[in-house]
Symmetry: C2
């Protein structure tokens, strides 16, 4: 109707994905099979595959059969990823994004301080302990650092938050990855994590937020030290 023959194919396939006919991890039918099934040309079949890929419903690596990828909120943020990548090239882009991260994590630690359950506390303590144990291993510290923050995103039990966390770490990875890793900095960051943890244990949302903001503001200073004004 509306000019795009590929759209109907996209609709049909995404329907199969959501209804489970095509499960996570399955291979998409070959393009030549699609053209037979839907009575379309290969051009349209390829177009449909492209659209599905841009919507995150399938993962299409060059020269490989596209793989069905169950669409979670992660997929949504993945779809936004390429655009955000462009925006981060512009002055202020990284700062704007990091700023939202600060506000969100501030809200998350408040939430944690107010309503973290026993299990959440255990998870936080575990993550913190592992973080402390890897201060001298820069690569692993990087991982356990992220893991500690990840626990914060898990606490509300809302799958959107972990997806956001993954998006942040992915989008900001280019900057983060280039930052110099020093044991001294690790020690400072671990101390910050500990302060956040303490405030949560004391059920003091204001202190938790303050500690978190201080932590991320410090991290941002490091970014600026490395990259200058971006």
């Amino acid at each position: 109707m509306t000019g795009r023959a590929a759209d109907s194919v996209v609709k049909a396939i995404s329907g199969r994905i959501h209804s489970g006919v095509l499960a996570d991890g399955d291979l998409l039918p070959a393009e030549r099979d699609l053209m037979e099934e839907f009575g379309i040309s290969r051009t349209v079949a390829r177009e449909a595959v492209r659209i599905l890929a841009s919507q995150g419903l399938i993962a299409a690596k060059p020269r490989h059969r596209p793989v069905i990828r169950k669409a979670g909120f992660e997929a949504a943020f993945d779809a936004a990823g390429s655009i955000v990548g462009n925006l981060l090239q512009h002055p202020g882009g990284v700062h704007n994004l990091f700023d939202t991260r600060i506000m969100l994590e501030a809200a998350l630690v408040r939430e944690a301080a107010l309503s973290a359950g026993k299990k959440d506390i255990v998870n936080l303590k575990t993550a913190l302990a592992e973080n402390g144990a890897t201060i001298d291993d820069n690569d692993r510290f990087y991982q356990t650092d992220q893991q500690f923050h990840a626990v914060l995103y898990d606490i509300p039990g809302n799958p959107v938050y972990p997806a956001i966390h993954r998006a942040y770490t992915t989008w900001l990875a280019p900057q983060w990855g280039q930052m110099p890793r020093l044991a001294d900095r690790n020690r400072i960051n671990f101390a910050s994590h500990t302060a956040i943890m303490d405030a949560i244990l004391l059920r003091d949302p204001d202190a938790a937020e303050a500690a978190l903001r201080s932590h991320l503001a410090d991290a941002w200073d490091q970014v600026r030290l490395t990259f200058g004004d971006i």
Copy 2:
């Protein structure tokens, strides 16, 4: 090098867009021109256009010349839109999304209470006044209601927040649009807005957050009343 000829074309064109050679609103060269310029087949030219469109750099309506669209954060959320749309069909999807909205707006009103400037206060008062003046006009109340919340997203001066607000209203519109509009409810919502405003004026973040959470929790109850458990 690695398989996708279209990628180099995409890179070249996106470079032109970012460098301003192709400005916002310009028309993308015709496919047949692209193939000549880059020495590629029409297949690849079309592929490149598709990719650029999926990245939000150009807006391609069927049967129309693609238009350059300098991507903002709104474009990123637009790209995520189709996936989120699907997720909202699943049980709990709407709730999960609305939950994040509550947390974000709670953080925003805290921010507003702590650091809203004179201009922000004026904007809030204006929005609130217009909201109050339209209690008996359901459609306009709906608009001024959104406008009041929009001001909250504007206060931090970070372009990401207005984009998020637009995404929320777009994504949740299907539910919101079907809700019954009653002058009584308008009155309640206006009272909530006033309470939030008062707390901000008193520079009391806790009260502002409480008022906001109460307001949105109430709104959610209305949603459940209309749709049942979703």
